[in-house]
Amino acid sequence: MTRIFSAATFASVIALTAGGAFAQARTDLTLAMQLEPPHLDPTSAAAGAIDSVTYSNIFEGLTRFGADGSINPGLARDWEISEDGLSYTFMLRDGVTFHDGSAMDAEDVKFSLDRARAEDSANAQKGLFAGIETVEVMDPLTVKVTLSAPNGMFLFNMAWGDAVIVAPESIETIKTAPVGTGAFKFDSWAQGDSITLVKNQDYWGEPAQLDRATFKFISDPTAAFAATMAGDVDVFSAFPAPENLPQFDADPRFNVTIGSTEGETILAMNNKMPPFDNIKVRQAVAHAIDRQAIIDGAMFGYGTPIGTHFAPHNPDYVDLTELSAYDPEQAKALLKEAGVEDGLKVKMTLPPPSYARRGGEIIAAQLRAVGLDPQIENVEWAQWLETTFKGKDFGLTIISHTEPMDIAIYANPDYYFQYDNPEFQKLMEDLNLETDPAARSEMLKTAQTTIAEDYVNGFLFQLPLHTIAKTEVEGLWVDMPTQAADLTGVYWAE
């Protein structure tokens, strides 16, 4: 009996050890995020959640963003730019197929670009394609795009999620059953709960290391905390409750990374509405703001102070925070100079995100300390878009601009903060025509300085990206140069 018992024990020990030695690293991953995409067509909606799921994973463009924000070859392996900067000839990769098995060729590229810029197009970023004059198919693997004017941003624009290559054969069902060329295939969608992708076995490039990736949608911050703590999700991208971060940091099961995003959070001012049409008042507001107090109070200490509308992780970024350093005495003096009476009521509109609602309260208190009296009005997103953004009926508002490289919005005098500076507009026009990197860098620096010196808006902080992941998960993006949860390089360390 003893012998049998010990033999059995021995066998099971062997089995266990063997099991341990041959254990495979996990090949499935559950990534949670706050918002569920409304549908899965990145080329016809502005919802960032669509890109989070599909960018690089399902759909690819001619060029693509790297984790550091660089522009890399995508479906185009190479390109040539004509001397005059007007035509781009893209050489496509050979042997790329869509998930339905059909080949990806020059016709698909032409179809995608023509569809995006068509008159009845519902592309949310139609402006990216505005300069395209013609798209010609030279041969199955070569496409020539001719622009009406040189555009130094063109390759950058083609890396956006809104510019991905789609096929005419599967365009009808793209919203619910997307077919792309990426390393993952769409598998299923349990609406309201999760979307599942599976590995694309026929991928043209470096294959994904995960066999299965599930995106789970958890909007409530408390639920996000519970799900992550309970181990239900492996990764939480853009974790919504910064107050819980120290707890995860202290837990050996998790890695917390704090990256940067493209989100410039600003206190926007209505440059056409008194008293903000006076630069002295705008300057006073800028000096009245204590950025660190806002970051501490509204963001639990997370966020990088900015002094202009530009991402600090960008190589061309200039630190201009000193131009609007916290100086309430100077703010008071400036308001007096501008002839603003003490306690002047101004309208401050706050959209729903907590950075705006919490930040707004703090800013209002800081402005009251120097003699302005903001009247806070909390609004929903739809209302904000309608009255503040479109209707321009506001004095102050707080918002994070998350589009990559969007300093050109300051060249549009009709944009909601209504900054009208012909010099700046000229500078942006010239920037578009300029293709020399050094010259472009200089111009971008000038642009940053111009808007900071004109105190167009109060520049607050760059929105941070908090990611919580189980410690064994490797290969996630730390920063978010575009809205994406790129899983193509993610794997489980053993």
């Binding site: 609406q191 519970a226 739809a382 589009e403």
Partner: protein, 314 residues
Amino acid sequence: MLRYTLTRLLSLILSLAAASVVIFLAIEILPGDPAAMMLGVNAQEDTLAALREQLGLDGTPWQRYSSWIGGLLTGDFGISYTYRTPVAEMIGARLQVSLPLALYALGLSTLIAFPAGIWAASRRGKMADIGVMGVTQLGVAIPNFWFAMLMVLVFAINLRWFSAGGFPGWDAGFWAGMKALTLPAVALALPQASILARVMRSSLLDTLSEDYIRTARAKGLTRAQALWRHALRNALIPVLTIIGLQFSFLLAGGIIIENVFYLPGLGRLIFQAISARDLIVVESVVMLLVFAVVLVNFLVEIAYAIVDPRLRRA
């Protein structure tokens, strides 16, 4: 009985018609353009116009109302603005979570409340009664979302017996589905059970003091026998009313619980649809909920008549 049923049916139809007008008008005056919501801050005017046309948002309110109602009557709930899938399909999928959840919670609540209420009533003034009253007082006072979070903390985060939320779908199996619905159902059921138990108790005590019970007792029945044979049936009317109300509340009112447990149910659908200005979904879901409430009321009224024949002539 037939006349009673027909009158009730007519009032059901009138309520629905009135509700549809109110819902449509209320949602029409909500500020916010669904097309602008979907296309965001970089949208161009012609893109917005193109999308509005695709969504059928460019008709007059009257045209939109009549096409909405016409669709509802033929079972066509329209296409969701944001998801771009048929609304009927979405509601169907969400009902697969909300309906079992509501029934599960209602079942739990009745299962707890009936014995507790009867027990307390039959032991009036004794320790059992005081205990039940105390516990139910607490159950009514505790907000269900707080209780839900407490359960998540204990059973999901510390003990790891349950997931913190989510729903694997019925494809994953009946038990997996039930397991996912257990914590939410308990969280929903607890306050309901407390209310129901209290109503059950007081209703029973009321009937126990009626003349016919005294007659029954005089004929030699014990208090317990009188309770089971005569009082219980008559005490059911207020209890039925509460159960009816609770069912519609559970179907619609799981919004907070569905958010705490991130369940893909109707409550969460309506929450998302409102913030995305997906008007057609909001209209249809609200209409469906109104329908559920009115229908449940109707059934409760029919049930009254069955329990108490005197009502049939009313």
